[in-house]
């Protein structure tokens, strides 16, 4: 943090999946990216370009076979609660209630029991799930599951947030509310965020910078600065904002078309 190096350094990372049957898939090819402390970076790219894979590598879930990733100058070796992830498919524990899912991370930190319970409750309230504390994931809608996953990760207060389309299952209204809450948390507590999304406007609104990835094998195509005043409610209508969204749309569309062509 202090020695001038960015908090997260991804250096020439490639990743190859080797399924037991079928041929190997090169998911990431020579990806380099740096993210500063307290920076909010959005990742945009066509489906299948390796966004989730990149987060898995950052999270320490997959082995880094080629290249290097350091966080605070230390190489990533294993998963840890310093890098909280919100999975694209939620990964809730189905045998635990909403409350117990959220408590699981808190139980692994030294925190008195009543404080844990209060903290869990405050995040349940934050994502609007009051009244569903004792429901099991199988009894929730997709959007409610996603909000539970969001609360679970936010609750243990990781200094780095890896978010894989965390609002993808939400309706427009809830999505807007959750964006506001996320920005709130990000502005209040020191957090670095890497945020995968398919929603260009969301990326431009939330992020300081947006990295656009190429179609598979994923590479970083360009990085665009998108620092806007997040507290300005009229920001969406300003010309600079709309132009930025258009510019990024163009970049993403080109890659999506390439990905589509390759299939045929």
């Amino acid at each position: 943090m202090s020695n001038g190096q960015p908090q997260i350094v991804i250096d020439k990372v490639s990743h190859m999946y080797r399924p037991p049957r079928g041929k190997p898939v090169l998911a990431l090819d020579d990806v380099s990216l740096q993210v500063g402390t307290r920076e909010f970076l959005a990742l945009l790219g066509p489906s299948g370009c390796g966004k989730s894979t990149l987060l898995y590598l950052l999270g320490g879930f997959l082995p880094i076979e080629k290249g290097a990733i350091t966080v605070d100058s230390k190489p990533v070796a294993a998963p840890g609660p310093d890098r909280g992830i919100v999975f694209q498919h939620f990964a809730l524990f189905p045998w635990k209630t909403v409350r117990d899912n959220i408590l699981y991370g808190l139980e692994r930190q030294s925190m008195p029991k009543d404080e844990r319970l209060a903290r869990a409750q405050s995040f349940i309230d934050l994502v609007g799930l009051s009244g569903f504390e004792d429901s099991f994931p199988s009894q929730l809608s997709g959007g409610m599951k996603q909000r539970t996953a969001l609360a679970r990760t936010l609750a243990f207060d990781p200094k780095i947030l890896l978010m894989d389309e965390p609002f993808g299952a939400l309706d427009a209204q809830t999505r807007h509310l959750m964006q506001g809450e996320l920005l709130n948390i990000w502005q209040r507590t020191p957090k670095t965020v890497i945020f995968v999304t398919h929603d260009v406007q969301e990326a431009v609104y939330l992020a300081d910078r947006v990295a656009v990835m190429t179609a598979r094998p994923g590479r970083i195509k360009t990085i665009v600065d998108t620092k806007f005043d997040k507290n300005d409610p009229g920001i969406f209508k300003t010309k600079v904002f709309v132009d930025k969204v258009d510019e990024l749309w163009g970049l993403v569309r080109d890659e999506a078309i390439k990905a589509e062509r390759r299939k045929v």
């Binding site: 294993a78 609660p81 909280g84 524990f93 045998w95 199988s138 990760t153 243990f156």
Partner: protein, 280 residues
């Protein structure tokens, strides 16, 4: 047939007001006993029609009378109790060690290397072939009968546990790791509960198997117990006694299996299947 019933039931349940659906449920449960009732009536009718002598096919009512008198003499309680005791002890040992071996095989290369061939060879083998050896080593009392049960019932538990653990979603494990779970916590708090539905399926296979082996072992080794009592009755040409044994075994087996599926519903209250109406 069973499938269309399930669909029809779901529809009626959805259409019913909550108050009436309970009545419906009970009626539906009763309807499931129709096939059993038909069998019982056919048995009684056939026995009374005089087609067979009472020796070949005693009437159900006379068999029930016999069960009643056995119950009063205390014979029934001893035989049933012993058989159920052996079956349950064997089942519990199989459950605990089966799950532990399955866990060890999934976790440890050496354990897998050691047990995998044993399971592959042992599972399909008719374990009753070991009976003479077991009698030589352990005699004919409870220990040898329970050993026979464990040798049979442990395999489906091991197999179910290994397959269940293989199928646990990697993201569940990652998400626990992400929150700081240790190896030990991961095993007991995440992998085991996630694998529980399939492990329970293995246990549901092992339980009736335990009962079956208990009865067969009793038949072959003699002594008290439902199987032994049937063999004794057969030797004395006591056909009512033999048929009484069959009815008792059927009832005990039904109760055990039913109890197990209730336990499953209890344990898997969080599971999708608990939210849906069932036909059982």
């Amino acid at each position: 047939m069973a499938r269309t019933d399930a669909v029809a039931e779901q529809e009626t349940l959805a259409l019913e007001a909550p108050g009436r659906s309970l009545v419906r449920r009970i009626l539906w449960g009763a309807a499931h006993l129709i096939s059993i009732a038909a069998l019982v009536i056919a048995w009684e009718g056939l026995a009374r029609s005089g087609t067979f002598t009472p020796f070949v096919l005693p009437s159900l009512s006379s068999v029930i009378e016999r069960i009643w008198s056995d119950a009063q003499s205390g014979e029934l309680a001893i035989n049933t109790g012993l058989t159920v005791y052996r079956a349950l002890v064997g089942f519990l040992i199989s459950a605990v060690f089966g799950i532990l071996i399955g866990l060890a095989m999934s976790r440890n290369v050496v354990a897998n290397w050691f047990f995998d061939p044993v399971v592959s060879v042992g599972f399909p083998m008719p374990k009753i072939a070991f009976l003479p050896v077991v009698i030589l080593w352990l005699g004919v009392y409870d220990v040898s009968k329970i050993t026979m049960i464990v040798v049979d019932a442990i395999f489906p538990v091991i197999a179910a546990t290994v397959i269940a653990i293989k199928g646990v979603e990697r993201e569940l494990i990652w998400s626990a790791r992400n929150m700081g779970a240790s190896d030990r916590e991961l095993m007991w708090q995440i992998v085991l509960p996630a694998a529980m539905p399939q492990i329970l399926t293995g246990l549901q296979v092992a339980l009736p198997l335990s009962m079956i082996v208990a009865v067969v072992a009793e038949m072959l080794m003699g002594g008290y117990g439902l199987g032994g009592a049937m063999m004794t009755a057969s030797r004395f040409a006591d056909s009512r006694g033999v048929f009484a044994g069959i009815v008792e075994i059927a009832i005990v087996g039904y109760v055990l299996v039913k109890g197990m599926s209730l336990l499953r519903r209890r344990l898997l209250i969080w599971h999708q299947e608990a939210n849906e109406p069932t036909t059982a």
